[in-house]
Symmetry: C2
């Protein structure tokens, strides 16, 4: 194993702005969330409140798991529960002025990180794609 040193860039340049992020509200129906997930093509997206805070992550897996019955997938149940009922509330957040190495560490177990400002407002996403593209740019054989 060779040890590399990396000048600690901040993550601001790598963030996907919140305006370009597909997200849903906690009170939306699970059916609406599944349609947004299918149309956007994303596996998982943030759940954001009207005052701009991330309160959870919703994914196709979480919604489908909930309607998986013993015999079949019970699709008619989709309109009986909300995003809030199934979203994951434990997820990785990162401050927008935190160092890149912190983002690298968190991205080992998370396909994306929710970036927040000093007051906890959602400012955007940091994806593994962004982190890997940055590293590929700085690492030379």
């Amino acid at each position: 194993m060779q040890s590399l040193t990396l000048q600690d860039e901040d993550i601001a340049r790598l963030i996907i702005d919140a305006d370009d992020v597909a997200c849903v509200h906690p009170q939306h129906s699970a059916e609406h969330a599944l349609l947004v997930l299918i149309k956007s093509g994303y596996s998982a997206i943030p759940v954001v409140t009207t005052d701009g805070r991330v309160v959870g992550i919703i994914s196709k897996t979480l919604i489908l798991d909930r309607i998986l019955g013993l015999e079949r997938i019970e699709f008619e149940a989709l309109s009986t529960f909300t995003v809030q009922d199934v979203m994951r509330t434990e997820f990785h957040r990162i401050g927008r002025s935190e160092p890149f190495l912190r983002a690298l560490q968190l991205s080992i177990d998370a396909p994306f990180l929710c970036v927040e400002d000093e007051s906890g407002k959602f400012v955007g996403l940091l994806t593994r794609h962004g982190i890997l593209a940055y590293l590929n740019g700085v690492i030379r054989k």
Copy 2:
């Protein structure tokens, strides 16, 4: 941007062995594939033939997209088509003795890479998790 040099390790140590990889056959029904995807929790998995070759990738998005009707999600259609009808046939493969930097480059746009041996047989997966964990281990501030 600081340029780092990395001794080019091979990828063998990072591979998830094919026996530990959830996969389906091309002739399986879409319904069976969706159940495997829900139960495993994975977004996408390889499609492997009986003679051990990867011929495609199947995901929840590809299956759900296919049954998304104008008014509603038509779940009853799930048993009318097979994995082969919807799988993605363009995906990233890598040979098991290829260098790490090649894997890093490919992982920028792919959550996982299908690793093959010299004869094209599927030997396992290389995931972004494995690549990021390795890089985090070698990069020091």
